[in-house]
Amino acid sequence: MSTMALIFSLIFVLIPIVLSKTLNLGLEKDATIAVIRSIIQLLVVGYILKFVFDSKSIIYIFLMVAVMIIAATLNARKKGAAIKGITWKIAVTLIFIEVLTQSILLGFNITPHTAQYIIPISGMMIGNGMVLAILFLNRFIAETESHQDQTELILSLGGTPKQAVHTQLMTSIKASMIPTIESQKTIGLVQLPGMMSGQIIAGASPVQAVQFQLLVLFLLLTTASITSIMLGFLSYPTMFNKRMQVVRSK
């Protein structure tokens, strides 16, 4: 794509800004900031990736993945501020996902052991884990708040904290996984996934692009289930104290 073509693509940024202005939606500022940020961030990442790929150093790969995990954790933790120690819980979950998926991918030689594969796949897994964490935390906090009487009932009858939030926990895990599962049901029929489209546009064989896309879909399914379940089981105990009482969130 030429620089001129990229400049012309800004027409697609002007359309929502004009619409927002016309309808008084007040989103012009946010949209502009989002566009500027994405241009800067992607350009910076592009140059960094070029440097990391050229250097072929494992240390830079670790650093890139670490930065991704830290950024994802800091973003997702805002939604779980009501849960004590949520930052390290998200971080541990994302690290676990990264270690597990890369161990399988590299251990079974599913993908080549190069930065070109490790970093983009890590980015997709960690990014998906972050979105899942946000979806799960949003739902879990809402469920526990709206079902306080059920929690109190089960505790008052001699139930354990796990029993007291079991229904809310399972509902939240399921709800956070639904978007991933549903989008996979219609994939290829309704939308062509971004990575696959990108590979095809870049000139790769559609069959090879599909193979990689399938790999990513399977990984996303694992990420979705592990993120929600692990974060759920790490989160609920901190809502109670040793005397099995609900800890008030401040």
């Binding site: 059920q150 008052s156 009858l157 001699g158 139930g159 005397r243 099995m244």
Partner: protein, 247 residues
């Protein structure tokens, strides 16, 4: 449920200088006194007096900041929380029901222990609270306020509590249902020797049902004694409360 041995002179629950606060805001102040074994004690007082908080302390849903609570001469912190909550049962004001049938709700306390509630036992419980066995498979969402409270009480009895805490269980009921619940509580007390602590906003109910009454205001016990104290209170604030001049 078996009748337990009752020693009416012995405290079932005893408070020793109990204080409870949230974020430095006192909710209960210097609570001392006893709920006697096998007796019905009513708690009355204006909204925000700390009555519900006091019950939650007894059931272990909350813990005091200072002071001690003794349950049958054993300090509350020595109890395992699960054992405590089965010994000191609590029927909550809103009588929350889990989704499903009345049987599912009655079976909940045993299900939490990995056990099942046989139908015959469930029918006995329903009969105990004045409901027929037809209710067993009825959806809990279809119950009236009075029926919900009866199921809630029956559900609490599944654990065979020695002490039963009742939080405003008749506040939203019509007079007929209120009367039925009153008779039911007296029956449970007499039949099984269960110590009962009952928060009520209805002073007539406190007089009719309770042997003892505690009057609470702004987190403190203002007057305690035989329920007849409500007819001739010695404390001026209690006199005003009884006359309906305080919230």
């Amino acid at each position: 449920m078996l009748h337990k041995e009752v020693n009416r002179m012995k405290p079932a629950i005893q408070f020793k200088d109990v204080n409870y606060s949230i974020d430095g805001q006192p909710i209960l102040r210097n609570i001392s006194g006893a709920f006697y074994d096998g007796e019905i004690t009513t708690l009355v007082g204006p909204s925000g007096a700390g009555k519900t908080t006091l019950l939650k302390l007894c059931n272990g849903l909350l813990s005091p900041n200072d002071g001690d609570i003794m349950i049958h001469d054993q300090t509350i912190n020595d109890y395992d929380p699960v054992e405590l909550r089965r010994t000191v049962g609590m029927a909550l004001q809103s009588a929350p029901m889990i989704d499903g049938s009345v049987h599912k709700n009655l079976a909940l306390p045993l299900e939490l222990q990995g056990k099942r509630l046989p139908d015959i036992q469930a029918i006995d419980l329903l009969n105990d609270v004045g409901l027929s066995e037809d209710f067993l498979q009825r959806n809990s969402k279809e119950l009236s306020g009075g029926q919900r409270q009866k199921v809630s009480i029956a559900r609490t009895l599944v654990n065979h509590p020695q002490i039963l805490l009742l939080d405003e269980i008749t506040s939203s009921l019509d007079q007929v249902s209120q009367k039925e619940i009153e008779e039911l509580i007296v029956k449970i007390n007499r039949k099984y020797g269960v110590t009962i602590v009952w928060i009520t906003h209805d002073l007539k109910q406190a007089l009719n049902v309770g042997t003892y009454t505690w009057v609470m205001m702004a987190g403190e016990i203002v007057e305690t004694g035989k329920s007849e104290l409500l007819e001739s209170p010695s404390n001026e604030r209690v006199r005003q409360f009884v006359k309906g001049e305080l919230g």
